[in-house]
Symmetry: C2
Subunit: 209 residues, 2 copies
C-alpha cells in the first residue's frame, strides 16, 4: 500500500496541486479515483466519511483525512521537508498567495473553465463576470512574476503548486493566456522540472462529462 | 502611537475580521481609513506601498505590512497568544475553514452583497449565480454549527473570526438568514462576547458609495 492516498480525478486542478507536489517530491503515493461528474462528492456518505465541504482533493496519510488543497500542501511540505517556507516571512508570503489563489486566481478561472470549457454554456453574463475577475487576478500574478522567477523565495514552493492547479488544463476559457507572458514563462519553468507531468497523465478518471 | 495599525473602512467585512480580533483581544490598535469607494486601493502608489494584490485589510506591526485577512488572523493569534490552534489537528482545521471562507463563504456572499446591497444592481444572472453559491456555502456551515458551538475546538478561534466578516452587515442580499438557524445562534454567541462591537462601530469611513 502506498504511503499517501489522494482522492482525485484527471480534470480536477485542485487535485493536481497535491498530485504534482507528490510527483515532484518523488513520494510513494497512489490516486483513488472520485466520480465527481457522476455526483460522488455530493452524496451524504462521501461527505460524512471524507469531507463535509463536499470538495476534492482529500489526502489520506497515517489515518488522517485532510481536505482543502492549501492545507494538504502545507501538510505535505511539513512531513516531506520539501517546497515549504524557510522563514516566518516566507510562511506568511506563501499563505498570502495560497489565499489569493483560493479567493481569486484559481477560483474564478476554474469556475469559468468548468462552465465555458466543460459544460459548454457559451458566453453568458456569468462567464463574462468570471472572466473579468480571472483576468484581474492573472494580471496581478503576471506582474509579480515579471520580477520573480517563482512566487516566493526564488524557488518552487507550495505557493506555486497552489496557483499551478488549472493553468495546464486544455479547455477553452475565452482568455488569451499569451497576454500573460510571465505566467507562460513560469508555467514552462515548472513543466521543465524533473518529475513534472501533465494533470491528465498524473491522475486517472474522467476528463469531461 | 498604537501598537497595531489596521488599514480598513466601515463597510469592509474582510477588515472587520481583523478589527474584531483586535477588539476582542483588547489590543492596542488604531484604524487607518482607506477610501476604497474613491478608488484608493486601485492606485499604483497604494499597491506599491501596501499591497500588490490591491486588497484590504493591511496590518502594520513592528515594521511589517501584512495583507490577506487569513494571514493577519494567523499572525495576530501567534503574537497575542489568543484565538489560535492548540494542536496540529486544530491548526489544520482552522486553515481548512479559513480557506473555505476565502473560496466560498465570504467570497460569494461579499460579492453578492456588494452588487445587490451596495451597487443596487437588482437581480441579474450574476447575483443569482452568487446567491446560489453563497447559499450552498451557508448550508455547509449551518450543518457544521448544528453540532458545534464554534467552528473548531468548541471555543472562539480565528476560524470563526474569518467567517464572521460579513454576517452582521446590514445590506440586503436576497438571502433569508433565518433559514440558517445555527448560523444565527453562532452570530449571537459571538456578539455576546465581552468587547464585541458591530463593524460600523469598530471601523471609520464610508459605509456605502
Amino acid at each position: 500500500m502506498a504511503e499517501f492516498k489522494l482522492h482525485c480525478f484527471a480534470a480536477s486542478g485542485n487535485s493536481y496541486k497535491a498530485a504534482l507536489f507528490l510527483a515532484l517530491a518523488n513520494a510513494d503515493w497512489e490516486p483513488v479515483v472520485v466520480d465527481y461528474f457522476g455526483g460522488e462528492t455530493r452524496t451524504e456518505g462521501w461527505r460524512d466519511n471524507l469531507n463535509e465541504m463536499g470538495e476534492i482533493p482529500v489526502l489520506e496519510h497515517k489515518g488522517l483525512k485532510i481536505s482543502q488543497s492549501g492545507v494538504i500542501l502545507d501538510y505535505l511540505a511539513e512531513v516531506t521537508g520539501k517546497f515549504g517556507p524557510r522563514t516566518d516571512e516566507e510562511k506568511r508570503d506563501i499563505w498570502r498567495w495560497i489565499l489569493f489563489d483560493n479567493h481569486k486566481f484559481t477560483s474564478y478561472y476554474a469556475t469559468l473553465r468548468f462552465m465555458y470549457g466543460l459544460q459548454k454554456t457559451g458566453d453568458t453574463p456569468v462567464t463574462q463576470f468570471l472572466r473579468d475577475r480571472a483576468i484581474g487576478a492573472y494580471r496581478i500574478v503576471d506582474k509579480h512574476l515579471a520580477a520573480n522567477k517563482f512566487l516566493v523565495g526564488d524557488r518552487l514552493t507550495i505557493a506555486d503548486l497552489s496557483l499551478i492547479g488549472y493553468v495546464y488544463m486544455p479547455e477553452e476559457t475565452g482568455i488569451d493566456l499569451a497576454e500573460f507572458p510571465h505566467i507562460e514563462a513560469w508555467k514552462r519553468r515548472i513543466s521543465d522540472l524533473p518529475g513534472w507531468r501533465h494533470p491528465h497523465e498524473l491522475m486517472p478518471g474522467k476528463k469531461a462529462f
